[in-house]
């Protein structure tokens, strides 16, 4: 028998009992739609996570930090006076960066210097989370700048800064101590054009302000280094060479940071803290600076996502702390797989119920058509054809349900996305995401379920005795 004839016969017998077919298909529609929508929610979450990771430097980057108790990693605490002596401590120095560059699978390795600083502008004062990076590293970060902006020029004499789009929220009025978070008003500063005063030595600044006592001093540390002479720290005039794209509210991975060239930052720091320990730098017990300049971290790019873990282990065995996005991704992946499993499972239950419906419908259909099946067998319809006919019928129910279910899920997904984007939480992307493979898989799955549910009824039809048909009633 030809496939076209099989198909024609199956469809015509489905059309014979339209209502029953419709109800059975409806079951599959609901089952498919619930699976697809559930999984699409999980995928949407995963998608937005990936986007975030991508903004954070992608999947191939590793951040290598030295192995100490504190100091290096915590940019806001400039108390390096706790633990400083051990020679066994691992610092990220130029040598180390060179060493990292020589490792297998490393595409590039660059030092990163992270310090916090104060910025003054008119009556405003603000905290800057200052990141010094090499030009290549800045390039690799894919920072999206407002039109007209550019990355810092390493050859410039000044310290050029790239401001995150939300940096201004960390500014407050010096006299009242009230900033954006209290007043809801943006400080009247245009980062793109205004010049700011940058203060690298915060301790000195606050010491100099001591009599004024500007509110609750940030980080009330009792570091007794500056007891001697509260001489005002040097204020550097800086200006921005670029601002990260996006308004004040738009959040991205670079929003709260300020970027600058690492060598510039380093030379400024060394100038400022000549003869003293630079905050964040390890010092010897006597308070003298460490013989070499120490960076906060090194940013390493692996050549391939596959090699990230191996590389991380290699660097760890060298005695450094490594954090990679891949570990984050892996753990998130596991979680998402579980979430999707649970969501998909809930959907699968309803598809399972639909499968029972299909089996029931097929059974009924076979009971009704016992005679017809028998006659076909007598006339010479092969057993295989009879089985195929019923499998096709069941599969077709599954297929129709799959198609309609997917259409329904697209509608539901669109509705969910519209509803959610109304109350946007600042999370980019959509909550529900239906990729093509999900459409195809769910369709195939629906057909498969239909055929599986129709298998035993079909087998039963195949085994019906032709005698039953021609026996006269």
């Amino acid at each position: 028998m030809r496939w076209s004839d099989l198909l024609r016969m199956s469809i015509s017998s489905l059309r014979r009992r339209k209502l029953r077919t419709f109800l059975t298909v409806l079951g599959v529609v609901i089952g498919t739609a619930s699976i697809v929508v559930m999984i699409s929610l999980g995928l949407g979450l995963q998608q937005s996570m990936y986007e975030e990771v991508e903004q954070n430097g992608g999947t191939t980057s590793l951040t290598v930090t030295g192995k100490t108790g504190d100091g290096m990693m915590m940019s806001y605490s400039y108390g390096t006076d706790g633990n400083m002596e051990e020679e066994s401590q691992k610092y990220i120095t130029d040598e180390v960066v060179e060493e990292l560059k020589g490792l297998k699978h490393v595409k590039s390795a660059n030092p990163v210097l992270n310090v916090s600083a104060l910025a003054l502008k008119g009556r405003y004062i603000g905290y800057l989370d200052l990141y010094g990076m090499t030009p290549e590293e800045l390039e690799a970060r894919n920072i999206e700048l407002e039109p007209g902006g550019r990355l810092p020029d390493p050859d410039s004499a000044e310290l050029e800064l790239v401001f995150g789009n939300a940096v201004l929220t960390n500014f407050y009025e010096e006299s009242t101590g009230r900033g954006y978070w209290e007043t809801g008003e943006m400080p009247d500063i245009d980062l793109k054009t205004d010049q700011l005063f940058l203060i690298l030595d915060q301790d000195a600044y606050y010491s100099a302000q001591e009599p004024v006592s500007s509110g609750p001093t940030e980080g009330g540390d009792g570091s007794g280094t500056e007891v001697s002479s509260p001489k005002a720290p040097k204020k550097y005039v800086v200006h921005a060479c670029g601002v990260v794209a996006g308004g004040m509210e738009a959040y991205n991975a670079n929003s709260y940071y300020v970027f600058c060239d690492i060598d510039k930052l380093r030379s400024f720091l060394q100038k400022e803290f000549r003869g003293r320990a630079i905050p964040g730098q390890p010092a010897t017990r006597s308070g003298k600076p460490y013989s070499q300049f120490v960076y906060s971290s090194a940013s390493v790019q692996a050549d391939d996502m596959e090699n990230v873990e191996e590389l991380a282990n290699t660097i760890r065995s060298m005695g450094y702390n490594v954090s990679t996005n891949i570990e984050y991704i892996n753990s998130m992946k596991k979680q998402f797989a579980m979430v999707q499993g649970v969501l998909g499972g809930i959907g699968a239950v309803s598809l399972f119920v639909a499968a029972i419906g299909i089996a029931n419908t097929m059974m009924m259909s076979i009971y009704e058509r016992t005679k017809e099946i028998g006659v076909m067998k007598v006339i010479g319809c092969s057993l295989r054809n009879i089985r195929e006919m019923f499998l096709l019928e069941a599969g077709f129910i599954g297929f129709m349900g799959g198609v309609a279910g997917n259409i329904l899920s697209f509608i539901m997904s669109a509705v969910i996305n519209i509803l959610v984007s109304g109350e946007s939480m600042g999370v980019g992307g959509s909550l529900s995401y239906i990729p093509l493979w999900l459409v195809l898989t769910s369709m195939g799955f629906a057909v498969l379920v239909g055929m599986a549910a129709g298998y035993f009824p079909a087998l039963r039809a195949m085994k019906l005795s032709p005698l039953a048909a021609i026996r006269n009633e």
Partner: protein, 238 residues
């Protein structure tokens, strides 16, 4: 003439409760090619069982059936289906047309099972319908036709695949006497003109008059074989 069906020592036993019923009790006979045979007996005489076994719908308990050189008692079910598809046409008592198909499609059904292309089988079916005088009704559904018309469609369906043998199980059982004559005349004509072998089961002696040979079967045994050499005339004189 060549023997097309040869039955030897055929037994069929049914177990009913504790007792054993012999539906067929050692039946042997031959049917020649191009012959119109009638198997006549009262209900319960085993005539339908015999026909079912000839058509391979039932397995004999013992004995052998050779049709066209093929031992059909030894075939498996799917082989039997293929055998029927290629060699046998079937006419049923209650027509058994497929309710969702019109006359042509019903007639073309056996060809569908053979995998013939649609155009070709529709052409064949139309030709056969012409033969049974139903060209006018070719687009009618079974429930739009009278019993006689339906049975003629049934006969057409049995003929369309060009089978060597046609089995008919009480073909006129559900028809009134007038249409019965009609259908019988048609079947007789077809067998004579096309040289086919027809095996018919009936309980009606009168209908058996159309046949060339009549097997009388009582309690599972063939008790008498009547030869009617004077073909056409025989039908009305007796």
């Amino acid at each position: 003439m060549k023997k097309i069906i040869s039955v030897k020592n055929l037994y069929k036993l049914y177990r009913v409760g504790d007792s054993c019923v012999r539906a067929l009790d050692g039946v042997s006979f031959d049917i020649r090619e191009g012959e119109f045979c009638a198997i006549v007996g009262t209900s319960g005489s085993g005539k339908s069982t015999l026909l079912n076994m000839l058509a391979g719908l039932e397995k004999p308990t013992k004995g052998e059936i050779v049709i066209d050189g093929c031992h059909i008692e030894k075939l498996k079910e799917d082989e039997l289906v293929r055998f029927r598809r290629e060699n046998v046409g079937f006419v049923f008592q209650s027509f058994h047309l497929i309710g969702t198909m019109n006359a042509v499609e019903n007639v073309a059904l056996p060809l569908t099972f053979r995998g013939e292309p649609r155009k070709q089988r529709m052409k064949k079916a139309e030709r056969i319908l012409e033969l049974v005088n139903l060209t006018k009704h070719r687009k009618h559904m079974p429930n739009q036709m009278s019993g006689g018309q339906q049975q003629r469609v049934g006969v057409a369906r049995a003929l369309v695949s060009d089978p060597k043998i046609i089995f008919a199980d009480e073909p006129t059982g559900n028809l009134d006497s007038h249409t019965s004559e009609d259908v019988m005349g048609l079947m007789q004509k077809v067998v004579r003109e096309q040289g086919r072998t027809l095996v018919m089961v009936t309980h009606d002696d009168h209908l058996a008059e159309y046949a060339d040979r009549v097997f009388h079967i009582i309690d599972g045994k063939i008790v008498k074989i009547e030869e009617k050499q004077k073909r056409k005339e025989g039908g009305h004189e007796s």
